[in-house]
Symmetry: C2
Subunit: 187 residues, 2 copies
């Protein structure tokens, strides 16, 4: 069990509907030392890749992606959900099944030469992630890899991404959760 | 002229309506080395204060606040705008005049012992900042200081906060902007 899985067991809370609440250390309130350690671990796993940009999505992806971008010494770009958009100029747009609707990124921040590392906090069905991949591909840029803090393996979004050939690294992979007992099993 | 003011002159764009676009280095795309330098400067200015928590607001405050929280070695908490709220349990709520409507923070992340440093990217009329102060005061916690990346002095929100006795530090204070010439004057 790694440091993030240990922290999830200690401070995560399982809620009905396969929801894992990590708001005391990963979103809403954030433990910066933990995020730093996560960033270093993601960097280690993709250290041989020629990353030029880190891409995430507002809101809870930003603090996960920050130390990754810092470790690689590259800019951090976050895609915006459409409700918050106040972007001028040309944008790339992707549809996301589920809550988010459209996500957008300004075209000037993704170019064909970019080798992009995508970062997000939680991967379940993978719909947001598919949207982020679509933004990168719309720019003719390259997805070098995907960094996920917590993957819900039972939702199979990660499996689908790996089947598509993407190099996806998740720090904590949850096989199952039980809201009654609070029990979490890692893959 | 300091490093942030120099960067604003180089890469900022003045748009009609006293809007300063800093989306190439401070929001949307973020220059992590610049953010790190800003965080160190904020830390220097409040180094003698017993900060226990950094508070900001989604979305664009998070990457500004991250290196500040790291420099102080304290947790980072971000208030949420009401449209994105999926919080259980008790929350503190504040009204924000203008766009945002309500902002909220979970009560468990602010306590009376907390000495809070508030961080945000841009200060104009100060309505969001007033909301953040209200959240801290609702928790009977103490506002130790306020860190702002860019203050629009002509909008007078900063003046009002200082008149109320808050220790507010802005890295770049804009006296005036002209959208036709693109000229920016710092205070």
């Amino acid at each position: 069990m790694n440091f993030l899985e240990e922290r999830i067991l200690r401070d995560g809370v399982v809620a009905p509907g396969n929801i894992l609440k990590v708001d005391s250390f990963l979103n809403h309130q954030m433990d910066i030392a933990l995020l730093r350690q996560m960033g270093q671990e993601f960097h280690r796993r993709f250290a041989d890749r020629p990353i030029t940009k880190v891409l995430t999505i507002e809101t809870s992806g930003i603090a996960i992606a920050y130390p990754v971008a810092e470790a690689f010494g590259v800019p951090l770009v976050y895609a915006r959900k459409n409700h918050s958009v106040n972007l001028e100029g040309e944008v790339y747009t992707a549809e996301v099944t589920g809550n988010h609707g459209e996500i957008v990124v300004a075209q000037k921040f993704l170019s064909p030469e970019d080798r992009v590392l995508i970062v997000d906090d939680i991967l379940a069905g993978g719909y947001t992630l598919q949207g982020l991949i679509s933004l990168v591909e719309a720019a003719d840029a390259t997805v070098e890899g995907i960094c996920i803090a917590i993957e819900k393996a039972f939702a199979e979004g990660g499996k689908r991404m790996r089947n598509l050939g993407y190099h996806l690294e998740s720090l904590a992979v949850i096989a199952s959760m039980d809201a009654v007992s609070g029990h979490i099993t890692f893959a």
